[in-house]
Symmetry: none
Subunit: 136 residues, 2 copies
Amino acid sequence: MPTPHYGQPRYLAIAAELRERIENGIMPPGSLLPAESALAAEFRVARGTIRKAIDVLREDGYAATEHGRGTYATGSSYDHSGNREARQQEVPADARMAALFEVAVGTPLIERETVIRRYQQVESVVRAYRLGTAEA
Amino acid sequence: MPTPHYGQPRYLAIAAELRERIENGIMPPGSLLPAESALAAEFRVARGTIRKAIDVLREDGYAATEHGRGTYATGSSYDHSGNREARQQEVPADARMAALFEVAVGTPLIERETVIRRYQQVESVVRAYRLGTAEA
DNA sequence: AGAAATTTGTCCGTATGTATC
DNA sequence: AGATACATACGGACAAATTTC
């Protein structure tokens, strides 16, 4: 079979499905998601595709992954991987952000803070702000 | 050859190298980076590894990618005429930043703000903080 | 306008490294 | 120590957007 992705890429569709399960309580916050290999089998895709879907969930704050352990459903995430640490939270848009994003002041934004370390020392801290998930 | 990643994963090392080229002006802001295939050849890695490195750059606001076109460097210490997409300024370290960088509160930090647009709309705003001291 | 070349995007299958159980 | 699970990396194939001819 080739690799068609008519309309929406598979990893986005799978991410949407998993997100729904989290919101519907099928996978309540705190619970462990099935292993990537299990999800790959269920959706009949390669494991890499499942990992991309989980990346999306993590970016949107719906899940947090820990090395050898698994991926948890969550509300606000904490992520620790390698030399980079990231944590994510919702913050209200201040005047400048509101102007840039063209939304009302106070609109919730997702702030992701990444701490980049280099030889035990903090090299830089990056804060990225985005609106909540957009698109259909 | 197996796939060892002693110490730092290759994609992070490559991301650091590319980031340095952007900051050092080898790949000035606005310029197009070499194609993924070219970078893969240069670093002697698979294309997927280059893509992961570029993902990191994009997350940190150093690059923006367009389908079919290429990846642009976006990091900047100046602004090009009219609509500036990136600006840089000195700000004093607040309590959290001081703790992370292990310096005194009020120590000057360099804040670089990049506005990432995607098809006319602001997609995200990235603020990167680093110490004002020079480093390699 | 149309075709070809270039470049990024998605997806597969496999192998191996590394952390946790 | 062994099993399980996530992380990194490879190489190949095809899709989709852009540029070039």
